[in-house]
Symmetry: C2
Subunit: 97 residues, 2 copies
DNA sequence: TTGATAGGCAAGTCCACACTTGCCTATGGT
DNA sequence: ACCATAGGCAAGTGTGGACTTGCCTATCAA
């Protein structure tokens, strides 16, 4: 379950895509391709980006929304908030300042 | 920098090790090996666990502390809290409830 | 209907990384 | 002095996954 979230976040390109969706929500595949190339200098194939988006969707981090021939991608930050909750601060064993 | 944190969290065994350190801070390599085997049924070599710990240390998620021939491992949750901060909730574009 | 745009599917390549094995060092007990 | 314990280093193997290429489908505009 959360397994997919960590796998999705493992790749730097996917993290860049999330950054891109924070900047502007609801971008299409081609828009993301263009931004990765022009802004971040990442020249990967359209299919490459598409596969990354599939992984992000599988992790629930990106919500696809179809309209006609367009597929817009919306960010969902909810799974990210769960991460810090899994490993709470350990209790100090003896005297704590 | 945060790059290493995501890579460290990508592996399920390393996440288990973090779980183990939440349960009890300051465990040694052999203790972690034993716990992984008996509690989680993970029978990997000592060197395997050692390499995982090295990755976690590189990410700043685990703080080693030497005492004699023992090396205790303490959890450091601080990098985890940074994750959710990187991708804030996107602004709703039009009317928001 | 034709062409252009937006996207999907499937197979193939290649490398990082998880894991093992074998040997070496250092500390502590007896 | 010895041996057991706790850990480190280095090289070898195998597999998941990132990325590409080529072809196919669907929507819209002329």
């Amino acid at each position: 379950m959360a397994d997919d979230v960590f796998k999705a976040l493992a790749d730097p390109t996917r993290r860049l895509i999330l950054d891109e969706l924070v900047r502007r929500d609801g971008q299409t595949l081609y828009e993301i391709c263009a931004r990765l190339l022009t802004v971040h200098g990442l020249g990967l194939s359209r299919q490459g980006v598409s596969q990354h988006l599939a992984v992000l969707e599988g992790a629930g981090l990106v919500r696809p929304r179809r309209e006609g021939r367009y597929k817009f991608h919306d960010l969902n930050t909810e799974p990210l908030e769960q991460i810090a909750l899994r490993w709470p601060k350990p209790h100090p064993p003896k005297g704590s300042p």
